[in-house]
C-alpha cells in the first residue's frame, strides 16, 4: 500500500475511533512547520484527523506521550514505536485496553541529516525528496539526483529487524521486511570495540565534553518514564547539574543501563541531540548486550516480565566469583 492510501485509511480509522468514543485522544503525525518535517499531533477533535499524515519523515516515537495523557488513546505506531508501547505495558505504565494501536509497517525513515551531508546542502535548500522503493530522488534547483535509499535512511532503520508493529489493533498496510545488506554510517560499535580501551574512554570523554545537559535524549525517550530521574535527586546528589564531562557521561551511561530491555532502538535520542553526540553507539550496544546475554528484545511480548525483573535460575554468571 502506498503512503497516501495508508494515510487515507488512518484518517478514517482515527475519526471513527473518536466518533465512536473508543478513544479520547488521537496521537499521530501532521505536517511540520519546516520543510519535510512532521510534528506530533495530539488531539481530541475529530476534525483534526484530516491533518494526520504518513510519509518517510514521521520520525517521532509517539509512545513518549502515553504516560502523560489521561484517558484512552489511539496512537500511530511504527515497528519500533509499537514495541515501546508494549514495553510500557510490560512495566505497568499504561494498560493495553487504554490504547488503540494503529500500526504502520515501516519501510524505514529518511534521515534529513544524512541527506544534508550527502548533498552538502541544508534541508531547506532542497526541492523535493521522493522515495521510490529502494531509490530516492532528491531535487536541488529543479534537478533531480538519484540515490539508493540506504544512503539516506536512519542507521537504526537500516539495522531494524522488526519493521512491522508487533502489537496492534489496526494494521495500516501489509507487513514489511527488514532492509538487507546494509551498514550503518554513524553508529560505530565495531570500530570502537576494535580500538584500545583507553581510546574508547577518551572517545566518549570527548563526545560528552560537548553535552549541554538539555535532557532531550531522556525526555524524548519513552523508556525514560521515571517521575524523578536520578540526575535530579539532591539527597544524595549523584551527579551535578553542571555539564562537566564526567557527570554528562555518568548520566548517559546510567540512563542506558536503566533503560536496558526497554530501549527498542528507535534512535530518537540520537536524532534529537543538538550537540550531535552519537548516542546510538551506546543504546545500540546495550540493545545487543541484552540480546546476546538474555536473548531478549524489548517490547516483543506484552505478557513477558520486563528484562531486569525477570530471571532464569541458571544464567551466564561466569563473571561472578
Amino acid at each position: 500500500m502506498k503512503n497516501n492510501e495508508i494515510q487515507q485509511r488512518l484518517r478514517q480509522e482515527a475519526k471513527t475511533l473518536l466518533e465512536q468514543g473508543q478513544v479520547e485522544y488521537i496521537v499521530g503525525y501532521e505536517t511540520g512547520s519546516l520543510k519535510f518535517t512532521t510534528t506530533p499531533l495530539l488531539t481530541k477533535n475529530k476534525d483534526d484527523t484530516d491533518r494526520l499524515i504518513v510519509n518517510p519523515f514521521i520520525v517521532n516515537n509517539l509512545s513518549v506521550y502515553l504516560t502523560e495523557i489521561k484517558g484512552k488513546v489511539g496512537i500511530v505506531a511504527k515497528g519500533c514505536d509499537s514495541r515501546s508501547v508494549v514495553s510500557l505495558i510490560q512495566d505497568n505504565k499504561i494498560a493495553r485496553e487504554d490504547i488503540v494501536i494503529m500500526g504502520i509497517p515501516c519501510p524505514g525513515l529518511i534521515d534529513l541529516k544524512k541527506v544534508e551531508l550527502l548533498l552538502s546542502k541544508d534541508r531547506d535548500e532542497l526541492g523535493n525528496i521522493t522515495r521510490d522503493e529502494d531509490r530516492v530522488v532528491i531535487t536541488i534547483d529543479g534537478k533531480g539526483r538519484d540515490f539508493p535509499i540506504t544512503e539516506v535512511l536512519f542507521d537504526n532503520c537500516l539495522e531494524c529487524q522488526i519493521p512491522t508493529p508487533q502489537e496492534y489493533d489496526i494494521l495500516l498496510g501489509e507487513p514489511t521486511t527488514p532492509i538487507s545488506g546494509n551498514v550503518s554510517k554513524r553508529t560505530n560499535i565495531k570500530e570502537l570495540e576494535a580500538t584500545p580501551r583507553e581510546e574508547r574512554w577518551n572517545f566518549w570523554k570527548e563526545e560528552f565534553s560537548r553535552c549541554i545537559r538539555c535532557y532531550a535524549c531522556r525526555n524524548v525517550c519513552p523508556a525514560c518514564f521515571c517521575q524523578r530521574c536520578f540526575v535530579e535527586e539532591s539527597e544524595p546528589q549523584w551527579i551535578l547539574p553542571t555539564p562537566k564531562w564526567q557527570d554528562n557521561l555518568i548520566f548517559q551511561v546510567i540512563r542506558n543501563i536503566h533503560v536496558a530491555g526497554r530501549c527498542t532502538d528507535c534512535g530518537e535520542c540520537e536524532r534529537v541531540c543538538p550537540m550531535n553526540i552519537p548516542l546510538r553507539s551506546l543504546t545500540r550496544k546495550m540493545y545487543e548486550i541484552v540480546d546476546e546475554l538474555f536473548q531478549y528484545k524489548a517490547g516483543m511480548d506484552k505478557n513477558a516480565l520486563p528484562l531486569l525483573t525477570a530471571y532464569e535460575p541458571t544464567e551466564a554468571e561466569d563473571f561472578i566469583r
Binding site: R197, E198, R200, F230, I250, I289, L293, F294
Partner: protein, 142 residues
C-alpha cells in the same frame, strides 16, 4: 603509567547484609588474612545495588567495586540476587565497552559461613586491581 611503589588499590564493597556482610564479619572474627583495601557498605540485598552506585564509586576515585550477595536460590527476598546478576552482567559488559577496565567491576556470591571465601575474593580482586592502573578515569578536570 608506572605505578608508584607501595601503591594500594581502594576497593568498595557492597555487601548483602544477609550473607556476604556476615561472611566478611566471620572472616574478621576467624582472623582470615585478607588485604585491608576494602571499604564496606552494607546493603539490604545485592539487588539493592543500582549500577549508579558502582559508577559513582569510580567517579569518587575507588579503583574497584565489589558487589557481593547470596548464592542463587538463597536470597532472603527470593529474587534479589537474580536481579542483581542480570544487572551486573549488562553493567559489566557495557562499562567495558565504554572503556572501563573489566577488573574494576567485580561480583561474588559469599554466604554467611564463608569467611574464608570472602578473604579469598578480596585478595584476588586486590591482586587484579594492582595489575591495572590506579583509577584515573574521571580525573581529568578539563
Amino acid at each position: 603509567m608506572k605505578q608508584e611503589l607501595g601503591w594500594e588499590p581502594k576497593l568498595l564493597g557492597f555487601l548483602c547484609r544477609w550473607c556476604s556482610y556476615a561472611g566478611a564479619d566471620l572472616a574478621g572474627i576467624s582472623r582470615k588474612k585478607y588485604p585491608a583495601n576494602i571499604e564496606v557498605i552494607r546493603v539490604p540485598c545485592s539487588g539493592r545495588v543500582d549500577p549508579l552506585f558502582i559508577i559513582k564509586a569510580l567517579r569518587l576515585g575507588f579503583d574497584g567495586v565489589l558487589v557481593s550477595g547470596c548464592y542463587p536460590g538463597d536470597c532472603h527476598y527470593q529474587t534479589g540476587n537474580y536481579r542483581a546478576r542480570r544487572r551486573m552482567a549488562i553493567t559489566k559488559k557495557f562499562l567495558e565497552y565504554i572503556g572501563i577496565e573489566p577488573q574494576r567491576i567485580q561480583a561474588s556470591w559469599v554466604s554467611a559461613s564463608e569467611g574464608g571465601k570472602f578473604a579469598e575474593v578480596v585478595t584476588a580482586v586486590t591482586k587484579e586491581l594492582k595489575e591495572i592502573e590506579h583509577n584515573q578515569l574521571f580525573a581529568d578536570e578539563k
